[in-house]
Symmetry: C2
Subunit: 397 residues, 2 copies
Amino acid sequence: MPIHAPRLSREGYNLQRSVMRDLLRFAVDPNVISLAGGLPASECLPLDSLKECLDTVLTRDGPRALQYSPQHLGLRAWIADYMGSRGVSCTAEEVFITNGNQHGLAILSRLFLDPGQPAVIEEVTFTGIHQITGGRDAELRTVPTDLDSGVVVESFEEALKASPSPRLAVLITDFHNPLGVSIAEEKRAELARLAAKYEVPLIEDDPYAPLRFRGRPLLPIKAYDEAGMVFYLGSFSKMLAPALRLGWIVAPAELMPRITTLRESFDLESSTLFQRAVAEFLSQGLLESHLKQITGAHRERCDTMLGALEEHLSDVARWSKPDGGVFVWVYLPEGLDTTEMFHQAIERRVAYIPGGVFSVDGSTKNALRLNFSNVQPEAIEEGVARLADVIRAALQP
Amino acid sequence: MPIHAPRLSREGYNLQRSVMRDLLRFAVDPNVISLAGGLPASECLPLDSLKECLDTVLTRDGPRALQYSPQHLGLRAWIADYMGSRGVSCTAEEVFITNGNQHGLAILSRLFLDPGQPAVIEEVTFTGIHQITGGRDAELRTVPTDLDSGVVVESFEEALKASPSPRLAVLITDFHNPLGVSIAEEKRAELARLAAKYEVPLIEDDPYAPLRFRGRPLLPIKAYDEAGMVFYLGSFSKMLAPALRLGWIVAPAELMPRITTLRESFDLESSTLFQRAVAEFLSQGLLESHLKQITGAHRERCDTMLGALEEHLSDVARWSKPDGGVFVWVYLPEGLDTTEMFHQAIERRVAYIPGGVFSVDGSTKNALRLNFSNVQPEAIEEGVARLADVIRAALQP
């Protein structure tokens, strides 16, 4: 049928379709080893126990589990306890259930940021963070991130204190997507202090923290927040299963009516059935053994990847050495362009995400993101070997 | 802890917390007969078959049913066929899965409407429609709705042709929330023609159409759309279960990349587990008998309500006579204020939604919305009798 093209809004027009999506069309060949994804280890998803929890809830709660419903108080209370165990003192009234961290970013960005206003994000960061500021047409101030210790605090302060005052800042705390790095412990209190000092809401995006497989857990930035200026985002997508579409915001209780209204204007509510099933899973105490199992698999795969990188690429590349999460970030020599290299990689049957995708100004061309969590160790070894071939070929004069 | 109040965005500040929410706190007493809800008949929700479909999908598809996933092609194809059966010719590529109709409204309003631009909605309409235009700070043009035949077409055209041109219009086609009325058949082609003529995207919000319990099904406005200017919103919330959080947009395929990107910036995706379970339910052919059962219950309850209104209030009120959906709208004599009357109603242990909640300019004070779908017939009779007492008392000089 003939179509009149309706005029689009600035947001509809400005939001960039991710280059990643177009590139990944080439990675569907089953012979391609894909290190491009971001999924938790499939074999370790708690399939049987979630099935049982769904059955339990549908049998016990009946039609109430299928109707509209207020946010599940038991789940909010569990999350408050869990946050308490991680050093964040909060009550169920300070927990708001979302459809995951992107949803939390969308809600909080709209709560604080009018179109065109200044916002602070990292130079290299998750594309979903680009989208919430890019879609708002924000005046972006970007700060660099150290591959060992996370966001550079001095640069962050410069961005916060510049005039006009930014309306929000976003940081990923643990096992950064795509960098794999965690913000160093000694920086965290200072980041909370800066948010308070400059009165800039700091959104702490922290979906990977429960996926630590090495080292001592660190307190989130929110644990150091005495001013109520840090807004914590957590998710069940990586710690339990993406298809549950559940996450949470920790925010002051007096902002909850506005957060609730804003969220209802998006999509009313999260599924009460999934909220009840996850609450059941958690109340049965199943989380600890699940996390032990899945992070065990992730650790083995990460170690395999770090070993293969060392074996094949130690002379030409450097990379992050994560203690959890699902990603490793690799820097190649200056001058290489991993987007251009992508087609050679696909020909060699290995896929990754080019670093430029995560770079706000597109300048980080000589880097790439590798996923280790949902790939078998043998495939990781072979994939990195193939990748090394592609890189060496690209380095030929 | 002491809180710095972060500055809010215009959207965060402007979005009004619904008066309804505050009023309904009074309606939780189990002795209150609540005609205030909007839920489908609980007894008729397909609890057992959905449970079986979830089990089937988790067993058959394994971890894939718990991971991130593209939109389910089988579900999109079923929806395209279903729309075809309702006179809308479209393919799976023209179907986009949402979390329900509010989600579709949020996505399309942001695709077309920049903050402050003109938009056309009905004078009395669903609060979620107020939210998407109010939250966007839209320059609102409202049009009246006839209680027998739906939106007044002449007024609608005036609003479309006024300068500057509106960026979108929203109409509810069948069994309007809160009015219960459907747009008359002879108006529908004209509405599609007007959207095309003035090149204004018309969002057709139609969650209740499958809940017809009387009369011949009418083609949606989209069935008359030759210009691609009508954007259809459908939902499984009322036809299957609210907790599934699934609905759809029908839109031209060339807009899908933008719709996809915009939606991903909100919350990535809808649950693949629920998409697969609903596709399973539908492919087993279970929908027809489910709709027969639930609309049977709704018809009985609606007839009970209409009979009780006739018995108790025919001398002082007039009301819509729905052929489906879940709501009846009641007009009382001028001068009565159903918001003021609400507290007397709660004292008399009956609850409704005051009409002012749905009125964009707050002027419709002498009306109220009644729900019949999720209340037992005996309670409906008793509730309307109590309501009549309250109204008669309010009419005393």
